[in-house]
Amino acid sequence: MKISNLHRLVQMAATASVAMGLAVSAHAQEEPKLIINGEQEMITHAIPPAYIDGLSESISGWVFRTKETQALELDDFDNPGMIFVDQAQELWDKEMGPENKSCASCHGDVSSMKGVRTVMPKFNEKAGELWTLEDYINDSLTTHMGMEPWGYTSTEMTAMAALIGNQSRGMPMNVAIDGPAAPYWAKGKEMYYTRTGVLELSCASCHEDNYGNYIRADHLSQGQINGMPSYRMKNAKLNGIHARFKGCVKDTKAETYKPGGPEFHALELYVASRGNGLSVESPSVRN
């Protein structure tokens, strides 16, 4: 295949760094701090767990954005993702389904969900499977409320994930990868390093080997998920973890997996573990 074809496929360009006078390495610059509402400081740099061999430092995706994009996450009023969090709060309190129950009927104030996001995904003993936050929400809807499950990447689901995630904002991610979770983690790790698609790129090609560089004028981050769900300026809505994975796999011109499917469950656990120690930022703001 000719270079020009490849070029057309992804239009990657490192030119941005040079052309726009941005050829400053992330480390040479003074690192800005992510302090939300002027009071809550997020951990944006952490030492990754010893079992992560490819990274010497875990860095939040926020650090790689321009100062204008960063500013949107500094204040809850300025963060458009908070609109959806407000909507999910109404949903949390709303009586729904055949049994006329709300999430609050059983869980009380949503602050009871504090800490939940930091350990997701986790192995669910009852089901004998690895469950994400979305799976727990759907389980409550179906087994505790007699309702139909929400679509895995639906607006309600992503907003609810953001509201629940928001209760843990600032707390460090801390997923478990041992015991029954170990095989999922191993599968996720393999996926992370496997080159796929027409372009033969793995997650690691971009997010481990090249973070800090520019691709098609985009400043590459480590592809961390501590900020999820994130409000993206690109589509002006909240985006969940699997929706983002799907987009990244598509960019390598590979057959993508189904959001909510077993592959992305395993990948989510592995990617989450690469960011153990980084603060939950839900909802973050990205481009």
């Binding site: 009023f77 458009p80 909507q87």
Partner: protein, 109 residues
């Protein structure tokens, strides 16, 4: 009335007489510019917030005329002079004829 439209405003609760305060406003709205096409290639009709005003005790602070190039969920930040205690009234006018309002009181100590 467009779906899911909800105004949000941020105004300090207190001020001193004559103080200049910062106000932020945001309304959740798609701001359909009238320049996008649907799957079948038909133009999606324009549906935007076209006017925003902020008044205090009946006197105007700012008014804004908006076009299709204002982002989804229109956001404004501006400053107001607060001569006395009273109420801010915020109004957004939608292309579809709907009006959305929000009010915030402020106390001058």
């Amino acid at each position: 009335m467009a779906k899911g439209v909800k105004p949000r405003v941020k105004v300090p609760k207190k001020a001193t007489a004559g103080e200049v305060i910062t106000i932020k406003t945001l309304i959740s709205h798609k701001m359909e510019s009238g320049q996008r096409k649907d799957k079948d290639g038909n133009i999606i009709p324009r549906s935007i917030i076209n006017t925003f005003t902020c008044d205090f005790n009946g006197q105007n602070v700012i008014s804004v005329e908006l076009h299709g190039a204002v982002s989804t969920n229109p956001y404004f930040q501006f400053e107001a002079k607060v001569p006395e205690s009273g109420e801010f009234v915020f109004t957004w006018l939608d292309d579809d004829g709907s009006t959305y309002t929000d009010k915030k009181s402020i106390t001058v100590a």
